[in-house]
């Protein structure tokens, strides 16, 4: 186990730092930003399972996020039970949705698959918005804050550890995929699906499995988010913007690497928060400037560092090794 830890110094450092921070820092905003970094990181890692490891790039993962968020919120507000039960229900629903998307991935490739995942998330958005009797429709659901662990009513410090737990869970799944036979076969599917199939790998089943797994993890994080932010609104939780964010963090950090999503999340979430905080107060009407900067950074990073920060780091290391 120590050997394994030593082989991944980046992860130890990152998660270790995150775990130690609340002991030294009490500033609620800093901790809040840390929670968001970890949570978006976990979501991106969940996306990575399907997108990076299995090569199925979806821009509709908000479907699972929203299902998880609604399941938790509804379980608390409508049925008077706890959010953990809601999380479980969310996972079941997302597995179902994941199978549907998996089915689509077996029929469609590349941009077509991506577009179909968008369509799926929008169908869910509209459906939930219209089902006013059950989901409160467009009005959304305010999630009450009741202190305690079973109700996920936690303080800032506890939330850091909760988000860390989710991040570690997703990280563990990624690492498992890197080291296991399942992972190797998935890599085959990702690199060259036809060749893999020729070698006897059950590509169709594996793709569905990867997507379903990704969906379940995303859903869990969605349920946590609902309790953290406290308001579930269909136009946000099923939005294309969110789906893009999950993919984006991973791409910038390094698709198909276990730590990539978290690196990407650190960069993007920090950038977002920082820019918003700095430029909000600017003369009224210029608030959009921070988004222009954000979009430009996006274009530049995607263009010049396409294998992400993790890839960049590996290349640097390789270059140094040969120097």
């Amino acid at each position: 186990m120590i050997a394994r830890l030593r082989s991944r110094p980046g992860a130890v450092a990152l998660f270790g730092l995150a775990a130690l921070t609340p002991l030294f820092v009490r500033d609620a905003y800093f901790l809040d930003s840390l929670v968001l970094i970890l949570l978006w990181g976990a979501l991106s890692a969940a996306w990575n399972v399907a997108g990076g490891y299995a090569g199925q790039v979806s821009i509709g993962h908000a479907s699972f996020f929203g299902l998880g968020a609604y399941a938790a919120a509804l379980m608390v507000t409508r049925f008077g039970r706890g959010p953990w039960l809601g999380m479980l229900v969310g996972v079941v629903l997302s597995l179902g949705a994941g199978f549907i998307i998996g089915f689509l991935s077996n029929r469609l490739r590349g941009p077509y698959f991506a577009l179909s995942t968008i369509a799926f998330s929008q169908v869910l958005l509209i459906g939930v918005s219209r089902w006013r009797g059950f989901t409160a429709g467009g009005e959304g659901i305010p999630v009450p804050f009741r202190p305690g662990f079973t109700t996920l009513g936690l303080g800032h410090i506890a939330w850091v550890y909760m988000a860390l737990a989710a991040a570690l869970l997703c990280y563990a799944v990624e690492v498992y995929l890197e080291r296991s036979r399942l992972g190797y076969r998935l890599a085959g599917v990702r690199e060259d699906e036809d060749a893999a199939e020729a070698l006897g790998i059950p590509t169709r089943r594996l793709k569905v499995l990867a997507i379903a797994l990704s969906a379940a993890l995303t859903s869990i994080c969605g349920s946590l988010w609902a309790q953290y932010v406290g308001f579930v609104d269909p136009t946000y939780v099923f939005s294309v913007d969110l789906s893009v964010k999950f993919a984006l963090n991973t791409i910038i950090g390094g698709m198909g690497t276990a730590l990539g999503p978290y690196l990407g999340s650190i960069l993007i979430t920090s950038l977002e928060t920082y820019l918003r905080a700095t430029f909000s107060g600017v003369k009224t009407g210029f608030a959009g400037i921070y988004l222009i900067i954000y979009g430009t950074v996006l274009i530049l990073v995607v263009r010049f560092v396409p294998d992400g920060l993790a890839g960049f780091a590996s290349r640097l290391r390789a270059r140094r090794a040969h120097a």
Binding site: I126, E139, P142, F231, D233, I266, A277, G281, T284
Partner: protein
């Protein structure tokens, strides 16, 4: 995983999160009092957020001309809340980094819900000026207040107007009226429409001939709906629109020669926004929208202190934007003025004393901006009957005040609407 990447992580985190965990800016230097302002300045709702800011800044200047709050100059720490996560995060920042004890805003229910939770957890006062979600005050959160009525209030006023002012002029009893409900499907539209439907049916027995919701951002054509409505033949169309959908409906109704006796809307968006008049000019004549006071409003109907501040407010907005105040200006501005009145009375931002001051305020209609009065319920909601609302009507390119009649010099025209080209 190289150490270089490690360095990148740590450095980025450190720099981008504000130069260290203790970079708290805290309350401004002596002589200034800072409150947090949370508004959507980017995204779909940006245009409303901007108007809110204008209203807030104008009233802030009026307040500072009159001595500020608690003897200090009022200043803002502004935060952009594009979505619920941002709203919660920025609320956090305002509280922790800017050290504010009061946050005001926020326009949209999806934003105020998340932000107020954060405020309540930190024992910071949340002073909401315009989100209309009926559940806002029902969450057992302390120190959360709303100066504007909620969606049920809007629905209440609309039906009041239809039943008591319009029905008699159509020579119909309220329970003989056929009403078609059409609405955009966000929390705003749903809130107002549902409360209107409720009151229409249970209190007046009006006949509901249609109920339809749609998403205003993807709506491209209202012809199918209009064709359906033509056959259902409603007397009154209760339509809550957000932006382009209002223009689309009205323009296409004219094209299809869809005739009905009245259209009633509520709120500062859609039919109640400046853009509607700009888009349609005199073609907009006849539409009713429930709003804050517009031209025609009789200052004399207000109490003396109300007259003073209302006049000052109107002049200041006119000077800044060149127009009579619009709904968003009025809600934000009135909310801030009311906050000043509370702080004047409490002389502190200590939550308990603040709360006591809020509850002790009791002013009749006509006391302040918009002709509002004040009386907060125990859960922090300003009462329906004090937050006087007015029915405005588009007349020749302007939204003018027509009801209640004691507040205005102008009267409603074109009741019933009659043919499309007859409304001059």
């Amino acid at each position: 995983m190289s150490r270089v990447a490690l360095g990148i992580i740590v450095a980025t985190l450190a720099i981008l999160l504000g130069g260290g965990p203790d970079a708290v800016r805290g309350q401004a230097p002596t002589g200034e009092y800072k409150i947090g302002v949370l508004e959507p300045l980017t995204g779909n709702l940006a245009f409303e957020g901007k108007r809110h800011m204008e209203g807030l800044e104008v009233v802030r200047d009026l307040i500072n001309e009159r001595g500020g709050v608690m003897g200090k100059k009022l200043v803002f720490a502004v935060a952009d809340a594009t979505d619920p996560t941002a709203a919660a995060s920025e609320a956090n920042r305002l509280i922790t980094r800017e050290g504010v004890k009061i946050i005001t805003g926020t326009f949209s229910s999806r934003l105020c819900g998340a932000a107020s939770e954060v405020a309540a957890r930190h024992k910071v006062i949340y002073w909401e000026s315009s989100c209309v979600d009926p559940r806002f005050n029902k969450r057992d959160l302390k120190y959360v207040y709303r100066t504007e009525i909620d969606a049920t209030g809007f629905g209440w006023y609309n039906i009041e107007f239809i039943a008591k002012h319009l029905a008699p002029r159509f020579n119909l009893k309220p329970n003989q009226l056929k009403v078609a409900f059409l609405s955009e499907d966000s929390s705003y539209g749903q809130g107002v429409t549902e409360s209107a439907r409720q009151r229409a049916k249970t209190e007046f027995g009006m006949q509901e001939v249609m109920l339809e919701y749609y998403n205003w951002t993807t709506l491209n054509d209202m012809t199918p709906t209009i064709l359906k409505m033509k056959q259902l033949n409603p007397d009154v169309v209760h339509h809550i629109g957000f932006g382009n959908d209002a223009v689309l409906f009205w323009r296409q109704s004219k094209e299809q020669n869809f005739l009905f006796k009245a259209l009633v809307h509520a709120g500062a968006t859609g039919y109640g926004g400046a853009d509607f008049g700009k888009a349609l000019g005199n073609d907009a004549n006849g539409v009713f929208a429930l709003l804050e006071p517009g031209p025609g409003f009789r200052l004399e109907a207000l109490r003396p202190e109300g007259q003073q501040i209302e006049k000052a407010f109107r002049d200041a907005i006119q000077k800044r934007t060149g127009t009579y105040p619009f709904g968003a200006h009025q809600l934000a501005g009135a909310g801030l003025w009311l906050l000043k009145l509370v702080l004047d009375r409490a002389k502190t931002d200590d939550p308990e004393k603040f709360n006591a001051a809020v509850m002790s305020l009791d002013m009749p209609v006509g006391s302040m901006i918009n002709g509002w009065g004040v009386k907060f319920s125990e859960v922090g909601q300003n009462a329906n009957d004090r937050v006087q609302h007015y029915m405005l009507q588009w007349q020749n390119g302007q939204l003018v005040t027509v009801w209640p009649e004691e507040f205005t010099t102008l009267r409603a025209k074109w009741i019933p609407l009659g043919a499309w080209d007859q409304r001059k």
